[in-house]
């Protein structure tokens, strides 16, 4: 599950990571109140206003602005709240901004030069343990840093037997060239984000940039966190942070029916039992000249109820011109799945797009006969090859 920046920062703060002072605002009024409060506690005269959406590159799309007065906070908040923010990571339509954070300006003058650092904690899948990745080149896309100056990306591997050690945190701070207070604060920062990572069952924490202020504070100026969905059962507080506004309404609807659905932009819907076969079916649609409109795993058993809900969800997408149902009946028999499809079809009523049903496995032939005899306008297939050819044919 992805979290917003403000949510990630609230978790980080709980684990002792320093973050800029700031407040959340849903309206221009709240933004001004937050700015006034910030001015009161920090004396800052500049404010940063940041759109809160689940996508990176917000600055590039105009979702991050600096205000030099409370008046400007009011203007900029009005401008950003309600805008459709388009970034390199959103669709062309962008994402509606429903909330912003107003933060103190951290670029204030002081005895030393400020610096931007990159740091993330993530799983190294190959080795099966966590790593801390960091670079003195913060504030820019880490993939660009990896291409231009790979020697400036460092990693620290965390041995699961002993966990993060002090010498490792020191090494991070030294490699980043920090001294004195900045060095000490960085050691603390590294421990803080690692504790936050473990303590909240995150699969990713990315802080870009980690900001060294002119008075040597180390702050998480931005924060991205991804939480392991499988671990949400032991973090009810984090589970509540799920923001349905950030998700596709059809995906939210699908979750309600226990369906694993991901919306895509193509013209052929598909419904499959099993995640691997579902991805493979999407690939087949592409090879057959179509474009997959979705990923949809109805689960191993492919029960009639789930098949019906699956149809209903796919049909809500107006771009869908055909549907491919691909079920490998193992322990669940194909004739039963076929009956489920026929019933679902009749329950839904008017279906005006071609449907191709491929049933393979136990009682596949009986399943095909059932579909063929039903009188419905459904094309049936047994092998994957036949199904692929039918997709090409109906798209002509």
């Amino acid at each position: 599950m992805n979290l917003h920046e403000y949510q990630s920062k609230s978790i980080l703060k709980k684990f002792g990571v320093a973050v800029p002072e700031g407040g959340l605002a849903h309206t221009e009024f709240e933004a001004v109140k937050a700015a006034e409060y910030l001015q009161g506690i920090t004396g800052t005269d500049k404010f940063v206003i940041k759109a809160q959406i689940h996508a990176g590159g917000r600055g590039k799309g105009g979702g991050v602005k600096i205000a030099k007065s409370i008046k400007e906070v009011s203007n900029l908040a009005t401008q950003i709240l309600g805008m459709n923010l388009v970034t390199p990571q959103t669709s062309k339509e962008g994402k509606l901004v429903r909330k912003v954070i107003v933060e103190q300006n951290i670029f204030y003058p002081g005895p030393s030069k400020p610096a931007e650092i990159y740091m993330s904690v993530l799983l190294n899948r190959e080795k099966g343990h966590n790593i801390i990745m960091y670079s003195p080149r913060g504030g820019m896309d880490i993939e660009t840093v990896a291409e231009e100056t790979p020697e400036l990306i460092f990693t620290e591997e965390i041995d699961p037997k002993i966990g993060l050690q002090h010498f490792q945190a020191r090494k991070v701070a030294f490699n980043l060239g920090l001294k004195d207070d900045a060095y000490k604060n960085m050691v603390k920062f590294v421990f803080g984000i690692y504790k936050a990572y473990e303590g909240s069952d995150a699969t990713l924490i990315e802080i870009n940039p980690v900001f060294k202020t002119s008075d040597n504070k180390i702050l998480a100026a931005d924060a991205k966190m991804v939480i392991d969905n499988n671990a949400l059962f032991r973090h009810p507080d984090i589970a509540l942070m799920r923001d349905l506004d950030e998700e596709d309404p059809m995906e939210v609807e699908a979750t309600r029916h226990d369906l694993n659905y991901v919306k895509l932009n193509g013209n052929v819907g598909c419904m499959v039992n099993g995640a691997g076969l579902a991805m493979a079916t999407m690939d087949i649609i592409k090879l057959s000249g179509g474009d997959p409109a979705n990923f949809l795993d109805v689960g191993g058993s492919a029960s009639a109820k789930r098949v019906e809900e699956g149809f209903r969800i796919i049909m809500k997408d107006p771009a869908v011109k055909a549907i491919l149902v691909n079920i490998f009946g193992g322990i669940v028999r194909c004739d039963r799945v076929a009956q489920g499809i026929v019933d679902a079809y009749k329950n839904i009523g008017e279906i005006n797009i071609p449907i191709i049903v491929r049933l393979q496995g136990t009682n596949a032939i009986e399943g095909k006969k059932l579909i063929d005899k039903s009188g419905l306008k459904v094309h049936s297939a047994i092998t994957l090859k036949e199904a692929a050819d039918l997709v090409t044919e109906v798209l002509k």
Partner: protein
């Protein structure tokens, strides 16, 4: 011959009295798997599906001589079940459970490797050596004894491969589903190595997907040490970046773990890669002719 499991496998089921455990245990018994009993803490002493139930894995081993355990325990308790099996001396653990937090798997993997215990899964369909033993949830009847080793990250997609291999008349030595989680107990390269060493396996089918580097690790190993033809399909060429596609581990993070990147590397390593999963069977027949 086969890999990891065979007619000498004596199997206990952890979570035998649960709904999933009961259903699949009866399916395994029907297939002919030597199910010696099960473990459900607190239900020791009863009989279930005609098999004895024990309170602990050690009791079960002492009474039955079991050497393989299959786990159908819900996610919050599954890690404990795995560790109990390893501690009691089970050599091969098959964990079917889907939804174990990644954080919990990190120390488990470490512990198992220190103790030399093999785990298959989690979040996998299991392993089958036809016609001797089925330790998993796959439909047994589609498998036929033969000469092809199959390793897969996906359940239903492996059934597809098995079905094609059976229909082209080749059959399988063993089919192993390594599972769809980010940290699997057994990786694809582990399975490929075992198949290369198995004298009865003449060819290998390797089914991967987006996310991680398991397939390319296997590719590099095959390039150096491979002695048998390998046919591969990588699912998810059309999957968008950054979205989890059902399996917790099926997510494109960077350029190197897309289906395209994996296929390209596998081809360079001498693996025959098919773009359509419909071609797995015929491609294997072709590969064996060469």
């Amino acid at each position: 011959m086969s890999i990891l499991v065979n007619k000498d496998s004596i199997v206990i089921v952890q979570g035998i009295t649960g709904q999933e455990g009961s259903f699949h245990t009866s399916q395994m018994i029907e297939y002919g798997t030597n199910i010696a009993g099960g473990v459900t803490p607190g239900k020791g002493g009863m009989m279930h599906l005609g098999k004895p139930v024990f309170n602990t894995v050690s009791e079960a081993i002492k009474a039955t001589g079991a050497n393989v355990s299959i786990i159908f325990v819900p996610p919050p308790l599954a890690v404990d079940a795995i560790l109990e099996a390893a501690d009691a001396g089970i050599g091969t653990i098959v964990c079917i459970t889907e939804g174990i937090p990644v954080k919990d798997m990190i120390p488990v993997k470490e512990y198992l490797s220190c103790r030399g215990v093999r785990m298959i899964g989690p979040n996998c369909p299991g392993i089958i050596t036809p016609p001797d033993t089925k330790i998993g949830i796959m439909p047994g009847f589609i498998h036929k004894p033969g000469s092809i080793g199959i390793v897969s990250r996906s359940g239903t997609l492996s059934y597809e491969a098995v079905d094609q291999i059976t229909k082209v008349g080749l059959g399988q030595t063993t089919m192993i589903g390594v599972g769809g989680d980010p940290i699997p107990g057994t990786t694809i390269v582990d399975a490929v190595k075992l198949f290369m060493e198995d004298p009865d396996t003449l060819g290998i089918i390797m089914i991967g997907e987006i996310g991680g580097n398991m397939e390319t690790d296997a590719g590099y190993w095959i390039k150096e040490h491979g002695t048998k033809p390998v046919v591969s399909f990588i699912a998810g060429a059309t999957a968008p970046k950054g979205r989890t596609m059902g399996h917790a581990g099926a997510i494109v993070g960077g350029k190197s773990d897309t289906a395209e990147a994996k296929k390209e590397i596998l081809r360079q390593c001498g693996v025959m890669v098919v773009d359509s999963p419909a071609d797995l069977g015929v491609a294997m027949v072709e590969a064996l002719k060469k």
